[in-house]
Symmetry: none
Subunit: 210 residues, 4 copies
DNA sequence: TATGAATGAGCTTTCATTCAT
DNA sequence: AATGAATGAAAGCTCATTCAT
């Protein structure tokens, strides 16, 4: 299981090249540790993952974990800080088409699923460790609220254009996102696409007879 | 903090009388251990709670935990099995009034919040430990699906009476419940009552212009 | 080096028999750990002695050290508390003969050397670890002051009987004890008996011409 | 707290000019390390002080400690060798006035206290680490014996001048010094000046009735 | 000459679990 | 049926030391 060659999504995500290589964030070994921690914390949980197993999975000596991160706790915090997918999420939600609301919401939902799928490990860590780690909870909260703000902003525009009634857009965005999160990370039995379609219909059309 | 006399909600919940009193399930000490585990697992998480601290909080000798539950793992499983609030939840959701849909959904939501608040510890354990413990995940899943079934059943009646359009009631119930769970157990910053009102409006009236 | 059978000075020192054997202080294993700690701390110092080596030298499993003493620090504190030789020292200093002052002081000195030699390990620990451990420093201080008080008390009697000039007896006792301690525990190159004789002469007769 | 610019008493103490400036002993960084080690070893003890913290306190890169001293052990040995205050002590004890014995001893005592106070850190290291480090013990022993020799030499002169009885001057000097050391470095509760006065009186006048 | 990243052995401590009584 | 003393594996973390540059 410990693989020396696999490194999922770290190197590619860094776009800022050109700075001196001795910036700690750029060390190969450090990234390997973050990669390993990401996988193992998501899979087994923070408490059930030993720092030794992280080092092993990363293919580095055990002492290096503490050399780079000081403590296991800080490893987690640095992980959720540096591997946050909030920028990615905001960017992808912002580029929503100005199409009709239904298509737009479906599109937003699919983009959300895409990001969460790509960054599933870190997303699961956020959900799971929030209960024990205030710092993680803060990130998790920030991420939700930011996403809701972006979605609400889009809805505001739609309302302004007369395509939507003057509903409480923040609340609508919240309900929308809660359901996306639930399906993506908590209730895994649901088919995301089908659920998304039905949810969007429900939210747009309402259940009351017209 | 460890109290010898406090035993919140255990004894009263057992309705099965008639069986021999020396059945282990009915032992006072056993119940104390479950009570303590419930509180500590919810507060600190399963991994971060030692069996010793459970025994201490329960006011029983340390060996008794393993006498009654064989292993820490089994203590958790027995806990979520015996302290399930599914019956309570089903009963309270079933007694929904036949009033108009809006009032009914608001009522259902409030009842749900009431049950979850009363059984908060066990609810948090279900959410938190699902990721690591398939047995817990199964209970957690069963609980959601059962509640959704009850709510959908009610909605079916409403549709039959012509008070609601012929929507996919199971999906509507699911969206409804997901949001309740999210607000009750995950996003604690939200005011449940206000959120509930807006969510119900959204689901019933739809966002599209009429 | 680890000996299973050697247990220097513990069992013999306990005179209070008759109490239930499950008093922790009386456990054989616990005493073995204290014995081992006493030897190793004296020999290598507290910091340089691992709890594992203490357990090994005591012939008990490593976990037992923490079962009985909670922490390495507490092991040291319990050690200097339970193995204090203050009572022994006070008793032996009190039984000073009423003979002439010179013989009495020589006698006191020899008794002191005898006690310190018999309890050398713990005495060295007191001296050595005082710098880092306030609790040990407190014991060490208490021991000195108590011994000084006993000696001064004797000198007071001698002064009252006219055998000594009305000197500051507490100071004289202090000077006397400081030298004894120095020779017994710090400057090991000195021959105690010869040093004692000369010191007593000096203190009694004075260096000034008469 | 770690100061880059503070360097208490090192540079000034080196009187040996004329040798090539690139002798390691004269490096600024090397002296900073010795300064830091002196402070930290005295404060926390050798074992409890990490080489990293020494480098940090000295404001030099961690690797430099081993570059200059090879090992932590050797750092200690070089420290007590190079920072010995024996020359200082001998010089100051030698310049004793030829006044009457009482004044002379009081003066010697005060000078001793002055030197030890000024070089307190190194003095504490000598006392504390002697038990574990033979090399340190040797220095500590040498220092005592040298001081005793100087004092005894003075006393010999006094005896020759008829100001003192023909006592064993080496022994008298030893008792005198032991007490000074004890008060200066071990029993910190004592007021040095008052203790000194009483001790000198005791040693000169004797306790026996005249 | 000087540096700081890297290493791994070893430390203290915790804890689920066992078992004699 | 019930207990708590006992165990040892494993955890997080520290640190003297090395070495490529």
């Amino acid at each position: 299981m410990p693989g020396r060659t696999r490194r999922p999504e770290s190197a590619s995500r860094q776009g800022n090249s050109g700075n001196p290589a001795h910036e700690p964030e750029r060390t190969q070994a450090r990234q390997s540790i973050l990669d390993a921690a990401q996988v193992l914390f998501a899979l087994q949980g923070f408490d059930a993952t030993s720092t030794k197993s992280v080092a092993q999975e990363a293919g580095v000596p055990a002492g290096l974990v503490f050399y780079y991160f000081t403590s296991k706790q800080k490893l987690l915090e640095d992980l959720v800080r540096e591997r946050s997918f909030l920028p990615e999420l905001e960017q992808i939600l912002r580029s929503a088409p100005e199409a009709d609301p239904k298509q737009a919401l479906l599109d937003l939902g699919r983009r959300f699923f895409a990001v969460v799928t790509r960054r599933e490990a870190i997303a699961r860590i956020l959900v799971r460790e929030s209960a024990s780690h205030p710092q993680v909870a803060a990130r998790w909260h920030e991420m939700r609220e930011s996403a809701i703000a972006v979605i609400a902003e889009y809805l505001d525009g739609t309302v302004a254009r007369g395509c939507l009634r003057a509903v409480k857009t923040e609340r609508l965005a919240r309900v929308f996102l809660y359901n996306l999160i639930f399906v993506a990370l908590i209730d895994e039995a649901q088919d995301p696409e089908a659920f998304l379609a039905d949810m969007v219909s429900a939210l747009l059309e309402g259940a009351l007879p017209r």
